[in-house]
Symmetry: C2
Subunit: 137 residues, 2 copies
Amino acid sequence: MPATLTIGRLAEQAGVGTDTVRYYERVGLLPTPPRRASGYRDYPADSVQRLRFINRAKELGFTLGEIGELLELSGRREHGAADVKRAAEAKLAVVEHKLAELQRVRDGLRTLIDACPGHGPLQHCPIVRALSGEETP
Amino acid sequence: MPATLTIGRLAEQAGVGTDTVRYYERVGLLPTPPRRASGYRDYPADSVQRLRFINRAKELGFTLGEIGELLELSGRREHGAADVKRAAEAKLAVVEHKLAELQRVRDGLRTLIDACPGHGPLQHCPIVRALSGEETP
DNA sequence: GTAAACCCTGGACCATAGGCCAAGGTCAAG
DNA sequence: CTTGACCTTGGCCTATGGTCCAGGGTTTAC
C-alpha cells in the first residue's frame, strides 16, 4: 500500500468529515493535493498532522482564519517563535475580554435569579421588572 | 401630535435600526402594528418598552429565540414568576458552562505562552509543537 | 462481474442577526 | 408645489463553519 490517503481515510484519521476536508481546501487551510488519474485527491500521509493541528487550534478558540495565519507563520522558516507567540498573546487577550463579559452576564443573571421568589405574579418578578425597564441598579 | 410612532422614531428611541425593527416583526418578537392609510406602520408608544426589553435581554446573553419565549411567558397572566425564573436559571447554566470552557482555553493558551521563549527557531516553540501533535501534557 | 462503497463537482442550505438596495409611494417644511 | 426625508416591499448579501444533495464516475470486495 502506498503512503497516501484518499479523502475518506484522511478525514477518518483526523476525525472530521470529507466535506470538511474539501471545505478546508477551499478556504486555503489545506494545500490542494495531487490527483490520481481518476481525479481522486491523493493526500500524503502527513496531511493528518496538519488536520490535527487545525483541530487543536480550534479547541483553543482560534477561528479558521486565525489558524490559516498560524499555519502560514509556522511554514515560513525565516520567522521564528516570536510571531507565533505574538499571535497567541493576541488571542489570549480576546479570550480574556470574552471571559470578563461573560462574567458580567453571569453576575447579572445571578442577581436577578436570587432576587426572584419563584412564585407569585409576574409583576413582582424582578427579572421581568428589570427587563421591562425598571431601574434597579 | 398623536402618541404613536413611525418605525424610524421607534427605532431611534430604542437605539436600533429600522431594518432591525422590521426583522423583529418578521421573526415574531414584535406584534404586527396597525397601519396608517398610507401603509406606514403606526406603533403605540409603549413599543419602545418592548424593544428595550429585547435589548436588555440580549445584553444578558439571551438569543432572539429565547427572548421570544421570555416575552411569551411574561405575556401570559396565568403563569407566574416561576417560569421566568426557570428560564433565567437555564440560561445561567449555559453561561456558566461557556465560562468554564473559556477558562480552560485561557489556561491552555497561557501555559503555552509562558513556555515560549519568544525567540529562536520554530522547532523550539512549544505553541507550534503543541499544535503539531507533540504530547506535552 | 457486479454490487457496494467510495469519490467528483457545483450548488443549495442551516442558524444568527441583521445590512443594504432599488423602485416606488408619502409626508412635512419652506 | 416642490424638495428632501421618510416609508413600503422583496430579495439578495454579510460572516462562520460547515452539511447535504444530485448526478455522475471509480474502486474494491466477494
